[in-house]
């Protein structure tokens, strides 16, 4: 991963049409401004991961036999 040091108010440009600016910092938080074309979606990575996790979770249909196996595992862990 490329790591770049920037001061508040400084920015960097990705390709020729996305500009990322450090707006402010406060404690361990950094506010980032992004100028990008409208058709580029910008999502927090936790959201992208959660969408993928939800989609995988709903595909995992577990029948009664599977659930008995899971119950046995949970019981063994709670001992």
């Amino acid at each position: 991963m490329l790591v770049v040091s920037r001061k508040i108010g400084e920015s960097l440009v990705i390709a020729d049409n996305i500009k990322v600016t450090i707006v402010a910092t406060s404690g361990d938080k950094v506010s980032i401004g992004i100028d990008a074309p409208r058709d580029i979606s910008i999502l927090r990575s936790e959201l992208v991961e959660t969408i993928a996790d939800n989609q995988a979770a709903t595909r995992q249909s577990l029948g009664a036999e599977d659930m008995k196996g899971l119950a046995a595992l949970l019981k063994s862990k709670n001992k």
């Binding site: 936790e46 959660t50 996790d53 939800n54 979770a57 995992q60 595992l73 949970l74 019981k75």
Partner: protein, 156 residues
């Protein structure tokens, strides 16, 4: 009411088990109505979050404290407002389970983005917590998904 479920055919649920999700669930924004129902296997109660209109999406869910006893969710003020509460204690927290691998040992729960239910307003949301240490896939039996004890106490 009679609920068509993904895993168990028709299950009968009380009306107070139905929750309105004004924003849907992440990735399923059009699904606005979900039921919570319980099913027992080997004396253990399991909870499911089942879409009411269709048999999917459906999620196996856990109360986070069952698998993460020290769970301390930190909600943003915006999420508190959206859920119409002043304190996380006023909400029911549920986490969506997943099995990223082949074995049940790899069970993960999404402690970063819990589903929260407000029993008074009968509404639910999936929210993203502010806890920096929490990951989307916390695997309690493998000890994966949270860096060492950390994170600040919730303060409003």
């Amino acid at each position: 009411m009679e609920l068509n479920t993904r895993d168990f055919g028709v299950v009968s649920v009380e009306n107070d088990a139905i929750f309105n999700f004004p924003e849907g669930i992440f990735g399923f924004e059009d699904c606005k109505l979900f039921a919570v129902f319980e099913k027992k296997f080997e004396d253990i109660s399991f909870l499911y979050l089942q879409n009411v209109e269709n048999i999917t999406p459906c999620f196996l869910i856990f109360e986070p404290w069952d698998l993460h006893p020290g769970y301390k969710p930190q909600m943003s003020k915006e999420d508190m407002r959206a859920c119409e509460v002043n304190d996380t204690e006023e909400l029911i927290f549920l986490t969506i389970a997943n099995f990223p691998g082949d074995s049940f040992e790899e069970l993960s729960i999404n402690i970063k983005s819990p589903v929260v239910l407000n029993a008074k307003t009968r509404t639910g949301r999936q929210i993203i917590l502010q806890n920096p240490d929490y990951r989307v896939r916390f695997q309690p039996f493998l000890g994966v998904g949270e860096t060492a004890e950390g994170g600040k106490q919730e303060c409003l």
